[in-house]
Amino acid sequence: MKIRRTRAAVVPALLALALVAAACGSDDDTGGDTSAPADSTAPGATAAEGGSAAPASTGAVDTVGFIFVGPKDDFGYNQAAYAGSEAVKSAFGDLTVLQAENVPETAESEAVMQDMIDKGADLIFATSFGHLEFAENLAAKNPDVVFVHQGGLETEPKLDNMGTYFGTVYEPVYTAGIAAGQVSKTGKLGYVYAFPIPQTLANINAFTLGAQSVNPDIETIAVSTGSWCDPALQAQAAQTLIDEGADVITQHQDCTKTIVEAAEAAGVYSVGYHADASALAPTGWITGSEWDWTALYTDIVQTLIDGKFAASPYNGDYRVGLQTGDNPFIQSAFGKMVTPETIALIDAAKESFTAGGSPFTGPVVNQDGDTVWAEGETPTYADIEQMDFFVNGVTGSTS
């Protein structure tokens, strides 16, 4: 009797452990490798692409910190952000750059950032979505230190030493969708994503609308894994999409290799995300989107050095897309199957975005057939960041 009862308790406990481990993601290595690199005066090999001329004088600003939620070499989001921080290091010769990897989206991130402040940081880049509230906490307590957050939206009260920035990720995703729509023979595209948050929904919708612009009957099947990186689930999800007839597979995940490999092995096409994975899919690679933070990071640092942060767009929710400047989210190289006609269509789409258009310029109709944005209506970046629906043509649930 006793044995049975204790065992009944043990099993749910084990499963709970499994769920916790699943939820923790990469957060377990919580050490936070905060190190002031000795080579902060590295040769300015990449300084030229920094957009700022020659190593600048740093005046009162002498230390900048960066925190990353994952490892610096995840072949994706964190690697790109890390590369941006390295570009800052190269662009500003006498600046000390502090970098901390694997900083979880918990109060621990506050401790890591506090440590950077203690080491003299004047500016901190908090580069993951969940770092926002901790950056804001510290911003309130440290009016002399500037915090910029990647991907979030500021909450009230808005502070003079706080801001957010991001690229409009869905622009190159829309143009990748144009290529996918041209390449697909089955008319079905497969999308593996993590969670139904506005950023992922906007990408899935943009991809679908891009594809529909060349083939109105295109359907996108969207499957979520409930994780930013669970390779086994990714492999099963990719297989499910292929079984359902999708012949182009794309994704919104942090680690991207498994899905690209699975698509290539199954002989279907893939569209990448976060990193150029064309080497993994020599026959099936259509295109993808990847980050290049160099220009934006260096400009934020330069703005602070010039003493102009408080008056700049960075002291707010700054979103940069083709409409407002150089989108840090850029298109990866195209595969051979993408025809010159399609590339011309993609260039035309980019021009229309630069001229004030958007992938979501109406008519945009949701899954239920309701019109969200009417003919000719262009939502603002802020509207798009509130997105909570799938467009018509997407199979999947937003709840």
Binding site: M1, K2, I3, R4, T6, R7, A8, V11, L14, L15, L17, A18, L19, V20, A21, A22, C24, G25, S26, D28, D29, G70, P71, D73, D74, F75, G76, P196, I221, A222, V223, S224, T225, G226, S227, C229, D230, P231, A232, L233, Q234, A235, Q236, Q239, T240, L241, D243, E244, C255, K257, T258, E261, A262, A275, A279, L280, T395, G396, S397, S399
Partner: protein, 297 residues
């Protein structure tokens, strides 16, 4: 749809089946090893690295087994020689595995892989329905399926199996025969860890073709609970592992077909399946537990 779900069940369940069979040995001897998760990760990374560096996937899988066994040896030493708490030690071993693999795996994230290819079995793979489900996989999957009956034979039809069960049920009998229950438990724990390591190897070099930090995401813990589901029977372990993985395949299929059910609920289906079946069966399973295990709790 059924064929797709069942094929997905076998493809995705193999990496769990190995540790379930391994942990069955361990628990039969009276030791619970929550470090199974860590052993899987150690196996996944080691197989990935050795597979790339040596050019041999088989050498990689073997190295994965050794790495999984090495972590299990740490667990065995702590609990059997030092008398540490089994649950706490297992968790620490898992976190050790997560930390070490994150550290040593850094350079291999996103790297090319030397992967096991699918080997369709002639004739059998052409059978409609059954063929694609069972006979069109990587070699490790076939080995996993065979490992269930093989483990059953070893446990119930060999002298070694008898000693393992004796260590778990009546260690004093072993002592009376002049043998050491501790030695048997060491062996069973290390064997369990090596199988968990092979499971990890299958995950990284045959199924996902990827190494990323903490890539098992709890599958080792699922394996430990499936041992109880399978009532410490390696044959039923096959059903348990493939049921769990089949539930994952099913929830993905339901999502892909636009089922209007919350995806969060669907994602919980594999775990709920295991809990519900355990709850239904536990009344009949109480007497199946190795006697010594009850002392752990």
């Amino acid at each position: 749809m059924l064929e797709a779900v069942l094929t997905g069940a076998v493809a995705g369940g193999t990496s769990i089946l190995f540790p379930v069979v391994g942990e069955t040995f361990t628990e039969r001897s009276g030791v619970i090893n929550l470090g199974t998760e860590g052993s899987m990760l150690a196996g996944a990374l080691t197989a990935y690295i050795v597979g790339i560096e040596s050019g041999s996937v088989w050498l990689g899988a073997l190295a994965g087994a050794v790495a999984g066994a090495a972590l299990a040896l740490v667990h065995a030493f702590m609990v059997l020689t030092r008398g540490a708490n089994q649950i706490a030690t297992g968790l620490v071993v898992t976190f050790l595995g997560i930390g070490l693999t994150a550290l040593f795996g850094q350079d291999y994230v996103g790297q090319g892989v030397n992967a096991f290819a699918a080997v369709p079995i002639p004739v059998l793979s052409d059978i409609p329905f059954i063929g694609p489900i069972l006979f069109n996989h990587d070699p490790l999957t076939y080995i996993a399926i065979i490992s269930g009956p093989l483990a059953w034979l070893v446990l119930f039809r060999t002298r070694f199996g008898l000693m393992v069960r004796a260590a778990g049920e009546r260690p004093e009998v072993l002592v009376a025969y002049g043998m050491s229950a501790t030695q048997i438990r060491y062996l069973a724990t290390v064997l369990g860890g090596s199988l968990a390591g092979i499971g990890g190897a299958q995950l990284s070099t045959a199924f996902t073709l990827n190494w990323s930090e903490n890539m098992t995401v709890g599958r080792g813990f699922v394996a430990v609970s499936l041992v109880i589901f399978a009532a410490w029977d390696p044959l039923k372990a096959i059903i348990g592992a493939y049921l769990f993985s089949g539930a994952i395949a099913l929830q993905l299929q339901l999502q892909a077909r636009g089922t209007d059910v919350s995806q969060y609920l669907l994602q919980a289906v594999p775990y709920l399946t295991v809990i519900v079946i355990l709850a239904a069966l536990s009344r009949h399973r109480a007497h199946d537990a190795p006697e010594s295990l009850s002392r752990v709790f």
